[in-house]
């Protein structure tokens, strides 16, 4: 199975939880955004209760959790927005 590289960006509360603003992920083909969220829940105790991911952006555009990632994608989980 081939692997691909995906940049995972962290913002706001997620950056505080992750302690970083970016992970470089090496993922196997067919990985979805939801799969990445599930892996984060295992990695960070503060996320373990969040069975559903927040909003998702792939390459700066909103996407669904089931979107299959592609090599070179930029992925971000978007906590509830509070602009304005």
């Amino acid at each position: 199975m081939r692997t691909m590289k995906v940049r995972l960006l962290f913002f706001a509360v997620l950056r505080d939880i992750a302690g970083t603003d970016m992970h470089e992920l090496a993922l196997s083909d067919g990985t979805t955004a939801r799969d990445v969220w599930q892996s984060l829940r295992g990695q960070y105790a503060k996320l373990s209760d969040y069975t559903q991911p927040p909003m998702i952006a792939i390459n700066e555009t909103y996407a669904t959790p089931e979107t299959v990632l592609r090599d070179g994608d930029e992925l971000a989980f978007i906590p509830p927005v509070a602009g304005g």
Partner: protein, 143 residues
């Protein structure tokens, strides 16, 4: 026209940029850091953003609202970073020959910006600090 800034907002520069001689009205909305939120005292707010996506989303909203109100021209600026009580975080100008469209377009624009633009705020007060919208917070970020 829309952009992000790290500097204080000059709403009048924004008005001058967007007004045309055919416009008989403009509506300017500013969101301002207030000293309370859900009964808690607030001293300052840190605004964070996914900058390139926030710029794209703001511009999509501006273009969509302008397409719904063809007589309206819109300008939006959102400030990021540390703001204190009384500072403006956002300014939206809508101008048009007649006033009704400016009111409606301005309000639609702020409502939609609050729904989808990836900007976040961390409120700081005497009780500590907190990202809005996470862990039982209201997620509204209303202003």
């Amino acid at each position: 026209m829309s952009y992000l800034t790290d500097e204080p907002i000059d709403p009048h520069a924004l008005v001058r940029r967007v007004m045309r001689p055919s416009d008989g009205a403009y509506v300017l909305f500013e969101g301002v850091v207030r000293n309370h939120h859900h009964g808690k005292a607030v001293e300052s707010i840190f605004y964070d953003a996914y900058r390139p996506m926030a710029e794209k989303e703001m511009e999509l909203i501006v273009r969509d609202v302008e397409s719904r109100f063809p007589d309206v021209a819109l300008a939006v600026v959102h400030r990021l970073g540390h703001l204190v009580v009384g500072d403006s975080s956002i300014a939206i100008v809508a101008c048009s020959p007649h006033r009704a469209e400016s009111f409606e377009a301005c309000r639609m624009t702020i409502d939609r910006i609050k729904q989808t633009v990836p900007i976040w705020k961390k409120e700081r007060g005497p009780d500590g600090e907190e990202w809005l919208g996470w862990q039982g917070n209201d997620g509204q970020g209303q202003c």
